[in-house]
């Protein structure tokens, strides 16, 4: 169905997103305002697309002779919906956020948003790649916009850029190979599973996985965010929607590859499960108010891969219902994570605004209850990420676990075993992530602040967080209807109409509930809040109206000592030290002591004052450190061998390269 007027709106949205101009505070605010309006517009277009069908916007002929256009089908509309929800929140937040940072942030922000809007609505490789590359460069710019450009910041931004370009390279390979296969981009599934198809799959999985921050590339996710002081609105866009763009690319390519062999799903499942576990583990020991959500992003994108992996495995095993159910899980996980993570990052920005620090142990309740919107929104986001009912994250986590439970239906024992392992990893991670979220909410917002801590009220910021929290509750409670709403996206992915509900079998929304196989599992998200509500009203009525209950407020019991003296309260670091010590073989926990006192000559055990640090290490970082060192060594050798400044050697090198190209062209022709 063609609707030109929607195309115009879509184009306006893309243009609007680019329009965030640098300048004075007012100009910046106007820029963010335009971004907000454009985001709302894109949101409307995406919803309309999901409701009525694909839209086609402006069409033209590209430089390579391909027909190009901006358009949205069900799949891209779903991702546009998730992204524009995030952007609406971040843009509104940015208007209130007095970031005192380089004005260049606003333009990079607008560019990033526009680029993602472009790649989501692109109808050709070329447009997609243009969007992809603008996105990478613009977000690199955002990370660079941190206050105080120390070496560390620069290095963090550089790590981001390096991973981003590696990702582009892999995506380029995948896209080029796919072009060879089908000659199109949005054209239906290609048939046949040859080596080339597998190349496309592997390159896409690695390339887009890199953007999603899954293992073993999770360094690209946490390092730039945790090691730069990039403002929180930027972090939210990076962590929520850049990974969403990666997910979109992966979904798009996998969707177009057609009947998958079983090992694709297996590989995806394995990568996903490892990411889930690593992300949750590092989130639980993270001390950085933005690093912790960044690790959680690794976990959540791992969950998306797990769900998609189960879907592919199920399809390879001919279990269509399970495949569809897992697909719904993957879609819902994507949107639930994007929204919740936005709230968490915006909350981290609020906390930083109030306390001036990113260290959880230093925050220690500094932002306590200063804004009801902030507290409620953060709580909702954290609960959702910790998979607590009735929030969105709970529904998606339940669906993913349900589909993993049914891995016994796979025909090969390897796949069954893999499903089992992945299920254990997801369940373990669910426990660890609770530790992380309790830590974040507890120490940032609920902990009794030490005397003297003040929390300035930051107008508007908290409210935005609260609104996002409300969206999360809505997504969770209304999950059956949301799932119905996004069914066109799943249909577009599967290249087949997905009936809602699907019979009485492995089905999605069944009235008020979600059913995973008629005899298997049933969840009714709306019933949970209704039950909680009724119970609360009854309890409230009993104590309030039943009369006579006296409430006495007493100070916390600290074994008789006066509570809450500075330096005598538990730190967030101490809260998770148990995990650091228990899992020291994975976390590579290491205690570094620096003596600051004299050592007795006899070397006897007289204690001396010392400084102590308990460090954990991402083992994958060691690999990358080695890789960097090796690359530097090779480049150095190359530089010394080829480019020592001697003209003769240099000319010989050019000659050889030219000859090689000529030979290649001659042979290929």
């Amino acid at each position: 169905m063609s609707a030109p007027y929607l195309g115009v709106l879509l184009t306006a949205a893309v243009v609007g997103l680019f329009a965030s101009a640098p300048g004075a505070v007012l100009a910046r605010r106007i820029g963010y305002g335009i971004a907000l309006a454009s985001s709302l517009l894109l949101l409307a277009v995406a919803i309309a697309t999901l409701a009525t069908g694909p839209v086609h916007g402006i069409a033209w002929t590209g430089p390579l002779g391909d027909p190009e256009s901006l358009q949205l089908d069900g799949l891209s509309a779903f991702f546009a919906l998730a992204a524009s929800l995030v952007w609406t929140a971040t843009s509104a937040y940015s208007i209130f956020y007095d970031d005192r940072r380089s004005p260049g942030l606003a333009i990079c922000y607008g560019l990033t948003l526009g680029a993602i809007a472009l790649l989501v609505s692109a109808s050709s490789f070329l447009l997609f790649l243009i969007g992809w590359e603008i996105m990478t460069l613009a977000s690199y710019g955002m990370i660079l916009q941190a206050t105080g450009r120390g070496d560390r910041v620069f290095s963090a931004a550089f790590v981001f850029l390096a991973f981003g370009e590696a990702s582009t390279l892999l995506v380029l390979i995948a896209v080029a190979a796919f072009h060879v296969l089908s000659g199109g981009f949005l054209e239906g599934p290609v048939s046949g599973a040859g080596a080339l198809t597998s190349l496309v799959f592997v390159a896409a999985l690695l390339g887009f996985g890199l953007k999603m921050g899954v293992a073993p590339f999770h360094l690209s996710e946490w390092l730039p965010i945790a090691h730069s002081s990039a403002p929180s609105n930027a972090s939210a866009v990076l962590s929520s929607t850049l990974t969403l763009a990666g997910a979109y690319g992966l979904f798009r390519v996998v969707s177009d590859l057609g009947s998958p062999p079983a090992w694709w799903g297996g590989l995806m499942l394995a990568i996903g499960a490892i990411s889930v576990l690593l992300g949750a583990l590092f989130a639980s020991v993270s001390e950085h108010t933005k690093g912790l959500p960044a690790y959680s992003t690794i976990e959540n994108n791992g969950l998306i891969l797990v769900a998609l992996g189960v879907a592919l495995l199920a399809e390879a095993n001919g279990l269509t219902e399970l495949a569809v159910f897992a697909l719904f899980a993957a879609f819902f996980q994507a949107i639930a994570h994007a929204v919740a993570k936005t709230a968490l990052f915006l909350s981290a920005g609020y906390v930083e605004h109030a306390t001036g620090t990113f260290d959880l142990s230093a925050v220690a309740g500094g932002a306590k209850r200063s804004d009801p919107g902030e507290t409620a929104g953060t709580l909702a986001a954290a609960l959702s990420l910790a998979a607590a009912p009735p929030l969105a994250g709970f529904v998606s986590e339940w669906m993913i676990l349900e589909s993993l439970f049914q891995s016994y239906r796979f025909s090969s024992p390897e796949a069954q075993f893999l499903g089992l392992l992945a299920g254990a990893a997801v369940a373990l991670a669910a426990g660890l992530i609770v530790v992380a979220m309790v830590k974040f909410v507890g120490f940032a917002l609920l902990w009794k602040p030490s005397p003297g801590a003040t929390a300035p009220r930051a107008a508007g910021l908290g409210t935005t967080v609260g609104v996002v929290g409300g969206i999360l509750v809505g997504l969770g409670v209304g999950a059956p209807w949301i799932l119905t709403g996004i069914a066109p996206g799943v249909s577009a992915f599967a290249h087949a109409a997905v009936a809602v509900p699907v019979g009485g079998l492995l089905a999605v929304p069944d009235g008020w509930s979600i059913v995973s196989g008629s005899p298997f599992g049933i969840l009714s998200p709306p019933v949970v809040p209704i039950a909680i509500g009724i119970a609360s009203v009854v309890a409230w009525g009993y104590f309030r109206l039943g009369g006579g209950r006296r409430t006495r407020t007493v100070e916390p019991w600290m074994a008789g000592s006066p509570p809450g003296r500075p330096g005598e309260t538990y730190t967030s670091f101490g809260y998770s030290t148990g995990i650091r010590i228990m899992l020291r073989s994975i976390l590579r926990t290491r205690e570094v002591r620096a003596s600051v006192g004299p050592v007795t000559e006899a070397g006897l055990a007289t204690p001396v004052p010392y400084n102590v640090d308990l460090e954990v290490l991402d083992v994958f970082k060691l690999f990358y450190d080695d890789l960097v060192a090796a690359t530097a060594a090779v480049s150095d050798a190359f530089k010394v061998a080829i480019m020592p400044g001697r003209l003769g050697r240099y000319l010989a090198y050019i000659l050889l390269v030219t000859l090689a190209v000529v030979v290649y062209v001659a042979v290929a022709a």
Binding site: E287, S361, A559, G567, T571, S572, L604, P607, V608, V612
Partner: protein, 435 residues
């Protein structure tokens, strides 16, 4: 110079600086000389001071200043965890300031003074018997040792001869109390290790010892029983037979429980290498008693600085070298058996003469006396100045006071859950530290 069992040797011991512990030692002989060092005792003994209107201010226990420095550990996420003064794990008023980054103990400072009743200051001017009522209530579960040391110091100061039978009664009381304290300490460790049957039966055994004390001395904690002017009971032959019979039962019962406890892998595993204290640390920190003996230093006042009746008895010296909580508990278990042997010898040699303690008819000359006694938890020293039958000055160094630094050292780098095993294996008492 020899002074009532107090050997003073100057030797080549290192000088003591600002009350800090002498650190260097060369060999066992050097260590033993250290334990005989009179100057050393003077540097760690508590001087009595009457508190002002605000009472005693809680402060790190004596000798813990070096540990207080360790508690200044800095680093990201470190904090001080206050434990006490009212804590269920330590059934006494006392506090520990634990420096930590969570889970692991980086430094631990015991804080005493919460239950200081100012006994040394309050007995000044009192007759010996009245002072004794307060001294035995410094630490109720160690009353026999405190009273024996106190009386021995007074007698040494006055130069008054003591009937041998009275010394035997004191030794009987001390050894019974040693049995009780060791049994209770083992029960507390069993409790920490959740050996519930073992702990209940050990506690039952402890109650039996208390009842034996009650029936022999008229008071379950032997308060008043050893003091001049008190109702000192003659331990008649019939009484002695009864005690011997009861001790036979206790011996059999303890033997059975002890072997069952040590057969339990979970119990032994939990104690092994928990809160270790090396021989060097034990000596340099000034540890005494079972703590010292568990770290491989064979010092026991009953053997190395004996006073009658121990001069006439065979005293074995249970010794361990590992220095961990298990070693300290093993030493206690072996000492229970050794004490039973000592009690047997006491009854075999019990003197025939009358053993009635009378208040001195005419106070003997004024003077200062020092006495040391091997209390259940270690070397206890009393230093008393008497004139006209009244106390002029009293100071003492309790074994707990001596052992706090060793405990704090052993807890470094331990984890929180080691605390109770460590604490109970040391047998520390805040009551006698605070005085």
């Amino acid at each position: 110079m020899t002074r009532s069992g107090w050997e003073v040797e100057t030797g080549d011991d290192p000088p003591v600086e600002d009350g800090k512990r002498a650190l260097a030692y060369r060999a066992d002989d050097g260590a033993l000389a250290l334990y005989n060092d009179y100057e050393r005792f003077r540097s760690i003994v508590r001087t009595p001071k009457a508190p002002g209107a605000g009472g005693v201010r809680p402060a790190p226990v004596p000798g813990a200043h070096a540990l207080a420095e360790a508690a200044e550990v800095a680093g990201y996420g470190t904090f001080t965890f206050p434990y006490g003064p009212i804590s269920a794990g330590v059934p006494e008023a006392g506090k520990f300031e634990v420096r930590t980054y969570g889970e692991r103990v980086l430094g631990l400072v015991p804080v005493g003074g919460f239950k200081s009743r100012s006994v040394p200051a309050s007995v000044v001017g009192l007759p010996v018997a009245d002072a004794g009522l307060r001294v035995e209530r410094i630490a109720g579960n160690l009353s026999a040792s405190h009273v024996s040391a106190f009386l021995a110091a007074v007698e040494s100061a006055e130069g008054r001869p003591v009937p041998t039978a009275e010394l035997y009664v004191r030794a009987l009381a001390q050894e019974l109390q040693r049995l009780y304290n060791h049994v209770r300490q083992i029960a507390r460790v069993a409790e920490a290790a959740a050996q519930n049957v073992g702990l209940a039966q050990m506690h039952a055994l402890g109650e039996e010892i208390l009842r034996l004390q009650g029936s022999v001395f008229g008071h379950r904690w032997m308060f008043g029983a050893l003091l001049p002017g008190g109702p000192t009971r003659r331990v008649e032959p019939a009484d002695r037979d009864r005690i011997e019979h009861a001790l036979g039962r206790i011996e059999a019962e303890f033997g059975a429980l002890w072997s069952l406890l040590l057969e339990s892998r979970t119990f032994v595993d939990r104690l092994q290498s928990t809160a270790p204290l090396s021989k060097e640390s034990a000596i340099s920190s000034g540890a005494v008693g079972p703590t010292l003996r568990a770290s491989g230093v064979g010092w026991d006042d009953r053997l190395r600085a004996p006073t009658p009746p121990y001069t006439d008895l065979f005293v074995s010296l249970p010794n361990e070298t590992a220095g961990d909580a298990l070693a300290r508990i093993l030493v206690r278990g072996a000492e229970i058996q050794a004490s039973l042997v000592i009690l047997e010898q006491l009854f075999d040699r019990w003197p025939a003469e009358e053993s009635i303690t009378e208040a001195p008819e005419s106070p003997l000359g004024p003077g200062r006396g020092i006495a040391r006694v091997e209390a259940p938890n270690g070397d206890l020293v009393y230093d008393v100045t008497v004139a006209d039958g009244r106390i002029r000055r009293l100071q003492f160094r309790s074994p707990s006071t001596a052992n706090w630094p060793a405990f704090a050292l052993s807890m470094q780098d331990a984890v929180f859950t080691d605390f109770h095993f460590a604490f109970e294996s040391f047998g520390l008492v805040f009551a006698e530290t605070d005085g």
